[in-house]
């Protein structure tokens, strides 16, 4: 479990993996910001409806998408939800969902700053 104080993402590592292209990294961050609300809404809907398979898929999508930015805390929470979905019993997902939402909010604000977008609270 990642401590809540750990950084939401590691853009330095992300840029290094991209071969040093910071501009492309910023473009990708903006593309991520354009889709994360939709991905997170799908996770929430799956938890609310108790649909384990939908939860596994939706959490997996958040995990993969956040992994690009070396966003360890978000990836960890999403992976936990994915595992809960795989277990077939999403009744325990509430607390993890709250953590995923908090971590994603931190990630979004960090990536907005990184991407050169206004960092208003969402």
């Amino acid at each position: 479990v990642t401590a809540p104080s750990s950084p939401p993402c590691d853009t330095g590592r992300f840029i290094a993996r991209l071969g040093g292209d910071a501009e492309l990294a910023r473009q990708m961050a903006r593309a991520f910001l354009g889709q994360i609300d939709r991905l997170l809404a799908a996770v929430r809907a799956a938890v609310d409806s108790g649909d384990a398979e939908a939860l596994r898929r939706a959490a997996h999508a958040v995990k993969g998408s956040a992994a690009n930015f070396d966003a360890a805390p978000t990836v960890a929470a999403a992976a936990e939800l994915e595992q809960i979905g795989r277990s077939g019993d999403p009744s325990t997902a509430g607390a993890v969902l709250a953590r995923l939402e908090a971590e994603t909010a931190r990630l979004v604000s960090a990536l907005r700053e990184f991407g050169g977008l206004p960092t208003c609270a969402s």
Binding site: F14, Q27, F32, Q35, H60, A61, G64, N68, D70
Partner: protein, 197 residues
């Protein structure tokens, strides 16, 4: 070289498009599996495909199985890109027919090397297929020459499709042989005598 890229993650898809163009490839961009399937089923499909495992429409592993079981597509070099990172999942992806399995997050330099390998193998496969076609057509020619030829005992012409053809015309059409014309000493003597008469 054209490369099919299919991923429902807009950030990855954007990165793939920009990087592949930079690396000298021609990306064909699909946001979900059905669009990717349509590209693969169209005439002259791309020799390389980078497929996300989880995406709406058709997932990458399903597409990979379809590629492997479709004659003409089965030589496609497939890189499976995925956040499925357990050992069992990796084995399942490779057993499903992927040539490469890369987990997110990945190093783009490694992806580039894999794609270059794929392009080299796809090119080798294409040149081998071309060579086989050439050998096959050469073999077809040899087969034609080794058949039973009806030949006239006097003028040595050959019957083909109800027509009588000069021997050299026939051989030129059915082999790589070419003729240079001359007169042998005996025929020369005979022709000279006939001419003198």
């Amino acid at each position: 070289v054209r490369v099919l890229i299919a991923d429902d993650d807009a950030a990855i898809l954007h990165g793939l498009r920009v990087q592949l163009e930079r690396w000298g490839y021609e990306p064909i961009v699909c946001e979900e599996g059905e669009a990717a399937r349509a590209v693969l089923r169209a005439p002259d499909p791309p020799p390389l495909a980078i497929l996300d495992w989880s995406m709406p429409g058709a997932d990458g592993v399903t597409l990979c199985r379809e590629i492997r079981s479709t004659p003409g597509l089965d030589g496609t070099y497939v890189v499976l890109l995925t956040a499925h990172d357990t050992r069992d999942e990796m084995v399942a992806g490779l057993v499903g027919g992927a040539d490469e399995y890369i987990t997110k997050p990945f190093d783009w330099g490694v992806l580039r090397a894999r794609v270059n390998t794929g392009a080299r193998i796809a090119a080798l496969q294409q040149s081998l297929a071309q060579r086989v076609r050439e050998l096959q057509s050469a073999l077809d020619m040899v087969n034609k020459l080794s058949g039973l030829l009806p030949i006239c005992s006097y003028c040595k012409r050959i019957r083909k499709d109800e027509r009588w053809q000069q021997l050299e015309t026939y051989l030129s059409e059915h082999s790589e042989a070419e003729f240079s014309h001359g007169v042998c000493p005996e025929c020369y003597e005979r022709a000279r005598k006939e001419f003198e008469r």
